[in-house]
Symmetry: C3
Subunit: 449 residues, 3 copies
Amino acid sequence: MLWNTNVRLSLPAVCVVWQIAMIILFGVFIRYDEESDPHWIEHRKHNNLTDIQNDFYFRYPSFQDVHVMIFVGFGFLMTFLKRYSFGGVGFNFLIASFGLQWALLMQGWFHSLDYTDGKIKIGVENLINADFCVAGCLIAYGALLGKVSPVQLMVLTLFGITLFAVEEFIILNLIHARDAGGSMVIHTFGAYYGLSISWMLYRPNMDQSSRLQGSVYHSDVFAMIGTLFLWMFWPSFNSAITDHGDGQHRAAINTYLALASTVLTTVAVSSLFQKHGKLDMVHIQNSTLAGGVAVGTAAEFMLMPYGALIVGFCCGIISTLGYIYITPFMEKYMKIQDTCGIHNLHAMPGVIGGIVGAITAAAASESVYGHDGLVNTFDFKDAFANMVPTKQGGHQAGGLCVALIFGIGGGLIVGAILRLPIWGDPADDNCFDDEAYWEVRGRQFILLK
Amino acid sequence: MLWNTNVRLSLPAVCVVWQIAMIILFGVFIRYDEESDPHWIEHRKHNNLTDIQNDFYFRYPSFQDVHVMIFVGFGFLMTFLKRYSFGGVGFNFLIASFGLQWALLMQGWFHSLDYTDGKIKIGVENLINADFCVAGCLIAYGALLGKVSPVQLMVLTLFGITLFAVEEFIILNLIHARDAGGSMVIHTFGAYYGLSISWMLYRPNMDQSSRLQGSVYHSDVFAMIGTLFLWMFWPSFNSAITDHGDGQHRAAINTYLALASTVLTTVAVSSLFQKHGKLDMVHIQNSTLAGGVAVGTAAEFMLMPYGALIVGFCCGIISTLGYIYITPFMEKYMKIQDTCGIHNLHAMPGVIGGIVGAITAAAASESVYGHDGLVNTFDFKDAFANMVPTKQGGHQAGGLCVALIFGIGGGLIVGAILRLPIWGDPADDNCFDDEAYWEVRGRQFILLK
Amino acid sequence: MLWNTNVRLSLPAVCVVWQIAMIILFGVFIRYDEESDPHWIEHRKHNNLTDIQNDFYFRYPSFQDVHVMIFVGFGFLMTFLKRYSFGGVGFNFLIASFGLQWALLMQGWFHSLDYTDGKIKIGVENLINADFCVAGCLIAYGALLGKVSPVQLMVLTLFGITLFAVEEFIILNLIHARDAGGSMVIHTFGAYYGLSISWMLYRPNMDQSSRLQGSVYHSDVFAMIGTLFLWMFWPSFNSAITDHGDGQHRAAINTYLALASTVLTTVAVSSLFQKHGKLDMVHIQNSTLAGGVAVGTAAEFMLMPYGALIVGFCCGIISTLGYIYITPFMEKYMKIQDTCGIHNLHAMPGVIGGIVGAITAAAASESVYGHDGLVNTFDFKDAFANMVPTKQGGHQAGGLCVALIFGIGGGLIVGAILRLPIWGDPADDNCFDDEAYWEVRGRQFILLK
């Protein structure tokens, strides 16, 4: 088989055609919502509101934090490879920019369609949700980093966003599960989607590029930029679309605490299982974030501060052990090659997050939340006015199953598509090398190795 | 001619004298405005406001995003040269810190002078405007990166801020053009100001330092930090000083969309015009931002989401082609050496932004904006109560011309001043080298090249 | 004496045991406050408030900025050493994550204890204060960078947070000094705490690792990430917990101006005192921040814009001269080894800040602040309803003395504890080397030096 990484026709074609499609679809479907339209001034007066009550001021700071997580957080976390930093941060940039447009449409049709005129009305909350939707695909990219072409990534994103929007609609609207920080909807789905694709694209001879599959000193420091921005802004991620007022406030506190706790157990396990007790940057870069994933679903619930610490405590341990034992096991015996270890950072913590969410929801009570607080937090309104917490717990568990099914099933199908020999992916001895898709200048000093 | 980059007397002298001048002028002129003065508490009660309606809460998050763009965004974008990273981020830091003080005074005299006591009253909006004003000079620095001394940069900034404040007053107040994100006022002016200076300072023998005029692997990754923070926070830039409520909301959405679209066409053109379809980091670092520039003027208008995508689509193409064809052409035939390619990132997209703004303004109507919305968005009040959209379109075009005239004219004059042989600029074989102005330690491994 | 940097048992033990202690204490003591509890909805209706008046929206953007300063700001500022970047950013991450938990408890007992049920009620302001508290210990780490083990750092943090909470309670509540940005409480205390510990841990033969005690080109650029994020977000730091409305607004303006001024005098002095007028990155990375420290106490007062510029002007000069003359002097004659130069960045500017605060407070008057403004700004209420500005000035000076006493005294005691030969600290010829505590891969090209 002839390997050819020349994407000079396919990549421009995909980018231009899809961008034109976006323009047409946006022209047909997308309009500003009530709070971003100039008629806001009349709406505001009519409802006796002030400008500061525009949803923009409730959510824009969180949106920008999420935005940083998507582009700098995920992007720089993937610069850790010694010769794939361009691909890590650059392709992350490309697929996120495409994905968010497609997400605005897909999520818009499900959640923001105005039936009076058939238009999707967007505001700042839609931008946040689009970024969330993209996160699922970026997680999947983590498993495939260095082994796929940008054209494959565009395909992965197109299908990933589509699948995401459908599973999200099923989980949130039909099943009526709550998932503020997306432990299930984003992390579980995204991780199993990526791992299934990676299984389909298994490369038995990838040891041919093993010389490149590692970090150098400076690339590890670059990756810490990604780690820290993800870690710091995760409270904004988990609180970005929760209820105004106490909902956003509580979600931020819970996430802040869970993440702090994770750092300590990650350090503990990393040191304990390493020769001479030395810390491994891979763990510090990744496992310290597991608590943020696992507290996603329950962040807006009354998890309690100590509950958040416990979740973080467990996830730091599990995630770091995953890097030490499970990732090598999966590669050796299960034919799943997971470059960034998303199984440890997103899959396991995501599932834990779904379970924690189900338990916390089932344990909710009016005595803790107050009557109005319970109705508000779990949205026991309209068609779901008769829900009770225990039942809600079951629905949460159901949501987790849907995320798993969509992730694995979708990944197998999309993986099959990506196996077609038309996408320009690199040869086994050419993986993890920016030279395949980038003009690389003057990095001779790296070659000294 | 003897070249001497020793600025041991001139640089400290300029810094200290100008800083003392700032202190004196601030002492005479600058005071807190109503919302940052302790009398706010009485003002608030008298007007039946709550603390959250202090302008601080409307604008401070956007201000901080803009602040990051100015110092980290512009600063790190200019670290891409292999041996001029200190100068890129360090001199950016210096001239921005000086420029914002001078801008508070210059813009204050024009816009925030309280005629009752002859004082300039400042609040958070003034800080944003000062950062904006500085951006014009930082853009100009992009053309000159590596070829000028810090003393020259201080002079460039002193004049640049002054010119900026005058052209801004003419464009916004006298001509009554709108320019929320500064496509004309900031980008067009700043870019032509820098290009004209570069033309005046043309170095025919600059190939003597060509070994240093390029990036290495890690410096390209550093530059991506700048790119991404500019890209992510551009929605805050374009919405920072727009109207409270729907104005800020809409400007953010439009910018978000334009930038997403630009990334795809930048990648497409970069791959299509490169041998083997490989992507060029120069394009990814710069052209992906062109959509944010071009949507600046019209961001607060009813550009519509698809309109924003179209603007971004075109600018990604034009800007990338500019890097491939126009920059070499300008250097070879027009004697304009443009280190960072600001012609492609700021000049052309800025002019496009002015034109898009004029068209969008001319096309405005009460049916789209509502009566109150139209008056509010275009500020058809007081002396301009009789303006109509078509006429506003003409005024917008007039504003663009003023920006061009001030940029080119001002640049020629300041360039002439900077040609005087007293500023300590580097010799031709010494350009793009931090050793001229910085103590450089332990970077031996870079020399391997 | 046998040096052994193996922390394989001690580090995991400390992390796990302390984290479990945190979980237990949080379980017993920490609950959500009124604004992050689901009963907010009833509280809000009862008090006729809207959701946007939840304290979350007043403070969360500032909190996130402070959070970035703690983790990216301090963390990356400490990456400047050529072979200790992992330790700089990584141990900063570890001790901040532990410290903030302990701080929530310690500060909670003093400031947020609800006497009706014996619980500490936390909200976003507690998170900010916890980050502030941590900052004191991170400053102390700056003096010790590269010379201590992570276990020592955990001990330093445990005691540091404890001491901080006590001195803070004495200064703010008992003495009733104001210290919005923590010039005294955070910077003076933290710096003298670290310097005293460093004196206790003096290493006479540290020249054995002098080959590693410096930067390389790229590590200096990494450190600039820390510098700039600290510099940009310092206005948020100083305004994060000031009064709603004009208090936050004014504190941000003053800090913005002081920092701008500092940059110019830092550049001036750095160039003037260096051979050939070349700038030194150490000064640019550190002394440019001194103005933010020194304006901390007075940021919320009527310091006036020119006053802020003057404070910044002086601190840039003093801090840079400190790096040139005082740091070498202290190492040679006073046996204080100060890796990051915290004496110049935090100690001297902190003391200056305390003095400026005392003077500004003593000079306050109703004619400048208005009656309500004066009462509000200085909190002349309840037990302190009879305070007058001149007396407040005296109390401010008293607060500064308490910070000095706690810093020096606490540092001597904790330093004595850290001298015990059980903590796994590195040998003299092994300082500033990540290999002691980290798995380091593929940084061969650094060794060329």
